[in-house]
Symmetry: C2
Subunit: 337 residues, 2 copies
DNA sequence: TCCAGTAGATAAAAGGTTTTAGCATTTCGT
DNA sequence: ACGAAATGCTAAAACCTTTTATCTACTGGA
């Protein structure tokens, strides 16, 4: 900043200092129009010297692109949101696009407020994100004048959505257990009204069905307590005991492992356990550390960000719901190498 | 939207539909200048009908206030950031101010990129947030043309910072234990190079010092493992055992409680335990549920947001570091009612 | 009747940038 | 040497809103 006053340098200052008109300065800086190479370099040098950066407001006013997008989420405490947001942001920051984060707390009033602020600010697009796949946005997003992308949420068929492939993730877990020789595999998971829970359970059953095994699924509330309770019920029944448990969340898995230990059963020696989420605080601290399915949330956000980028640039993007593969993170709770 | 084309309604459309000039429309909508009451109402009604909302870009260009601020954080996985951001956002959304979230991952290149995007977008202010109090921003924030507020970080004396009152929080924990009759209170905490750790330890010592008790502090890495290890060391020593442990984090506390159980000691009957963070996943799931210190992160964010609001409106805000009180969340791990 | 004052409305400028159309000047081809 | 084409630059319009200064018409007072 070699400008005396606090004012930010404008292209006018550049033009003045370089002894050219504003249009020439603009052309030179953007490589548009016909410009003498010597002039172009001089303008660029001067711009650099006085620290000129174009005002995005003015630019956006004209180009109708604000280079910002909004993320609307219903999640305040962020186990899912923040990795996704980080992914989105990472995909976009190199293109000069910034991200407005709007936590609605599932409150329609708040959501409307946020949405109006976003519309006023002429965001180039909106990404909607939820804590569960089958949750509708707290405000109508179906007829906005800009593209909408759903991440970890399923939008209408005419929009673009990215979700983790729960079926494939569940298969990953079950096949891992099968490959280690386990044959009596149980599934302890969350409430059946979650679509993700139903998909994982269905995939689990399908995996076992090939072997003429119906399997057994216990639905319940999420959380560690449910893991304890489920183990209590399981052990109260007649033999044979399962030799492996596939859990619907890392928290449940932790509860299961703790409960098994309390009952004198060793993991993985007596019973192997697999989780779902790869939520680091939980999975890494479980004893033994948890083998679990990772949904790749950051990558999911990155994909959503890239899709949004294409949409704002008018490029074609395949519509519908795209399921992204999960990966298995092998730690100690299954006894694999 | 009664406008045929996808175009957003402008004030020009309002003026046309109401049969007045653009200036009159603007005056009527904003209650500026002299306007006939009848005209004013008609303009407002028309604006409502065609769904007019002023373009924030154009407005910002003129008023030099973009009604957006940036949050720069080095935290990607969000245990601290997201509650604070939610607080900031909550304080600002009612004033039409939106929040850009910039996760820098502590990478200076990324931080510079984000900062430049924010400056270009003419944000009205920047809030810096970190995962620990004594972490400098990965990019120089000292001479920006807009106000900077530090939340959960200590900025220079000439700026405005909000941090949790670690000393008071620690006192809360220790006095709770004292009030329950415990007399041999240990402190198991994080690495000594964290300023928050040193402050808590100092407050802990000061509390005991009045009773002629030096206390004992064990520093170590954060995390559950350290809790286990610390308990092992503690029990390996000659009697007398502590009758209470004040932990520097909930994770450590959970490790401590699990380890005590493994060694046949009961919490709270044999030893009481207090944590620090009130990180719900950890504190609520510990068995027994953890009594712990809550730093009020959301409130901290709210205060930072309000301060930013005042700053952008030119109101005076007291400079320096403001320590915000913590609160004690009583659960089961101390045996209090 | 004329003047001053006021109410109500508006034209124009400003904010910073990009783009279009157009103006000189030089170069090229014949 | 002359018209055509290319080169280098610029004025002005456009994006949308707010504000200032100005203009018109009317009211009331003398």
């Amino acid at each position: 900043m070699t400008l005396g006053h606090g004012r930010r340098a404008t292209i006018r200052d550049v033009a003045l200092a370089a002894g050219v008109s504003i249009s020439t300065a603009s052309n030179a800086l953007n490589g548009q129009g016909r410009t003498n190479a010597e002039t172009r370099d001089r303008v660029k040098r001067v711009a650099e010297e006085i620290g000129f950066r174009p005002n995005a407001l003015a630019r956006g006013l004209l180009s109708r692109r604000s280079h910002s997008i909004g993320i609307i989420t219903n999640d305040t405490y962020g186990r899912l949101t923040l990795p996704m947001t980080a992914g989105v942001s990472e995909a976009l920051v190199d293109h000069g696009v910034s991200v407005f984060l709007c936590a609605t707390n599932n409150d329609p009033r708040l959501a409307r407020l946020h949405l109006e602020a976003l519309l006023d600010k002429q965001v180039d697009g909106i990404i909607f994100t939820a804590t569960r796949l089958d949750l509708a946005p707290p405000v109508d997003l179906s007829s906005l004048p800009m593209p909408v992308v759903y991440a970890f949420a399923e939008g209408p068929d005419t929009s673009v959505s990215f979700v983790p492939d729960d079926s494939q993730g569940a298969r990953l877990a079950v096949e891992h257990l099968l490959s280690l020789g386990h044959r009596r595999i149980m599934h302890i998971t969350g409430p059946e009204d979650f679509v993700a829970v139903r998909r994982r359970a269905a995939a689990y059953r399908a995996c076992l069905d090939g072997r003429g095994d119906k399997g057994e699924v216990m639905f319940g509330p999420w959380g560690e307590d449910w893991g304890h309770e489920a183990v209590r019920r399981m052990l109260a029944r007649p033999e044979p005991r399962p030799d492996a448990i596939f859990c619907g969340s890392d928290e449940t898995a932790r509860g299961v492992i703790d409960a098994l230990r309390d009952h004198g059963l060793s993991v993985p020696a007596d019973i192997a356990v697999v989780g779902f989420d790869n939520w680091h605080v939980v999975a890494a601290q479980t004893r033994p550390a948890l083998t679990t399915v990772d949904m790749g949330l950051k990558e999911l956000g990155r994909r959503a960000g890239l899709a949004m980028l294409d949409l704002t640039q008018g490029k074609p993007v395949p519509l519908g719901i795209k399921a992204l593969g999960c990966s298995l993170v092998v730690r100690k709770s299954c006894g694999a190498v």
